[in-house]
Symmetry: C2
DNA sequence: CTGAAAGCGCTAACAC
DNA sequence: GTGTTAGCGCTTTCAG
């Protein structure tokens, strides 16, 4: 492994100059820089990350914490964040905080070893310059720990007090989805929402359900408790839930609004398996903008997941850069868009 | 940030002892260790990763390189590898090498800036102790670079010369899938394989097709070129491909063997959309053991993706541990298993 | 614009 | 079993 000393010798300068030249500092003459770069290239020199970090206090590494590694939304966000960070020359270290296991509000957050360990051993180990937390809710104590370390932190989709957070307005998104259905003439609308376990960590289900209820109320439609069901945000969960909802022909709704595209796809399949046509017999709408939504002809509210990841990366990068002193705004509302496809139409009695 | 010196003072020992005690070295008396641990805890001390790495030469960080961040198989592998590594106290730094962009054999691997950069700036930056490369093919030069750095490297699913590699025998897996179909009585079997672009990097499509051909040959069934089609391993790709295959009633096969579960799911949907029943009119089998396979009642050859990731992690960990000097075996054949579900049955003419 | 030198915080010989 | 000490390889004042 070539050290900086070798490069300095070959270029005929001091190690300090090599460091400056390679770091792109402006206080190096062009000719010197050229020689240094050439020397470095010739020797195949690459700086030692740990030595550089130790001396400078910067790691050029950011941590991304996600609750799931194998769910479409998080993969898409990760992809975007990773891309943004990599393009800026940062490494990304991945942390997985399984929130179905435990979380704040359960009284276990202080004792769960995995979660504790993540904080104590990993996040605080000075390995990263900053963190992106995806739909993560941290306890006050955890937040305080993070703040104490003084690392920039940006939240995505989660309600993190006192932390710059990017998120879509879930209530609005749900209203939009529900209003689309109402505008088509539906009055018997079911909602497949989040399940209480997941909810503990990011209140997603609750917020989306609230938007649903608001839209109904604005339209003067009474909320039918039997049309509220919950699932775990997976295709299979949506399928089961939709089967329940659609099974009884006397109480069958004319439309289903699922809190995620994956559940919506499950609902579409459930409808098919019950011999119902989508959208002729039942309309289905989801939220997310899933890769496969187009394939399923699923009407959805796209939330541009990959873009969200990129945006989170950019926000963080801005906090990390010494210039542009503007601190990131505390909360940024992310864009979303209704994409109408073939899974929604007017209800049977209006056709 | 608390430094080791503070802990040493509070515990009334030297910094060396603190280091030893916290690293779990056996040469520290129990009572001393207890005091050190208590002091560290009281002060909230966490070692500085960079200082520790610089001094010891170990980073406790391993890199995982994947070609896709948003495909089920890779997510599952990543999940497994991440879990295994984290449990052992390692951080994982994620690298994304988009092989659809470029790869060895295209003559661009030496010049593609992204790929070059990954090697020069990231992998060689001494940030990781070791690497897991998932279905990645490296050029001889790239392999040499990696070897020169002297970092353990384990490959998963990819043919890496001279590197311990874990992989399923794709030819065998395909034979198994095809033989299942043949044993049910099918003779008109189509295959949706990999597309040439992906193939460039890991020859997956080619190997799976070979197993398919072998099985046919063993059964004395002539290979019909028109029954060979290719797609990009996605649901949508499988759908399109299956539509082509099943569209013409005169040449329609009685079964489709897709090279991945995602393509198989697409094929199932294509069949449905053509008014064909699965498995009554057409059988479909895939490869992978996708999360949703059960849901689709898809017969498949499960390759235990998450387990593969864990195994790769364990293999690497073994190479990293100073004891057990046994170098990892060069090539390990991974297990796979035929899971028969509802998407395969005897062909129409035999029922 | 460039060099000399002092650490960054920790680990690993080497003594005792 | 524990302390002393010399770096690990780089960045960054501080001079000039």
């Amino acid at each position: 492994m070539t050290r900086i000393q070798k490069v300095a010798e070959l270029a005929g300068v001091s190690t300090a100059t090599v460091s400056r030249a390679l770091a792109g500092k402006s206080t190096v003459s062009d000719s010197t820089r050229a020689r240094v770069v050439a020397a470095a290239k010739e020797l195949g020199y690459v700086v030692s990350a740990s030595a550089s970090s130790l001396a400078s206090g910067r790691t050029r590494n950011v941590g991304v914490v996600v609750p799931f590694l194998d769910r479409w939304f998080y993969s898409a966000v990760l992809k975007g964040a990773h891309g943004g960070l990599t393009d800026a020359g940062y490494d990304v270290t991945l942390y997985h905080l399984d929130t179905t296991e435990v979380g704040p509000g359960t009284g276990t957050e202080g004792t769960n070893p995995r979660r504790r360990r993540l904080f104590e051993e990993f996040l605080l180990r000075k390995r990263v310059d900053a963190l992106i937390a995806v739909t993560l809710e941290l306890s006050d104590e955890e937040l305080a720990e993070l703040h104490a370390v003084g690392k920039p932190l940006v939240g995505l989709g989660g309600p993190l007090a006192g932390v710059p957070t990017l998120s879509i307005d879930d209530v609005e998104v749900s209203r939009l989805a529900t209003e689309h259905l109402i505008s088509l003439g539906h009055r018997e609308i079911a909602h497949i929402g989040g399940d209480p376990v997941l909810d503990r960590d990011f209140h997603l289900g609750w917020r989306r359900r609230k938007g649903f209820e608001q839209a109904l109320e604005s339209a003067g439609i009474a909320l039918e408790p039997r049309l509220l069901n919950s699932a775990d945000f997976t295709v299979a969960g949506g399928y089961r839930s939709a089967k329940e909802l659609l099974g009884d022909p006397r109480t069958r709704p004319t439309a289903i609004f699922a809190g995620s595209d994956e559940m919506a796809m499950g609902a579409i399949m459930a409808a098919r398996d019950l011999g119902l046509r989508v959208p002729d017999d039942v309309s289905v709408i989801g939220i997310d903008g899933h890769d496969l939504a187009d394939f399923y002809e699923l009407t959805t509210v796209d939330q541009f997941a990959e873009e969200q990841g990129r945006l989170a990366a950019q926000t963080l990068l801005r906090e990390l850069s010494p210039d542009g002193e503007h601190p990131a705004p505390q909360n940024v509302a992310l864009p979303f868009k209704l994409i109408v496809r073939g899974s929604t139409a007017a209800p049977p009695d209006r056709r």
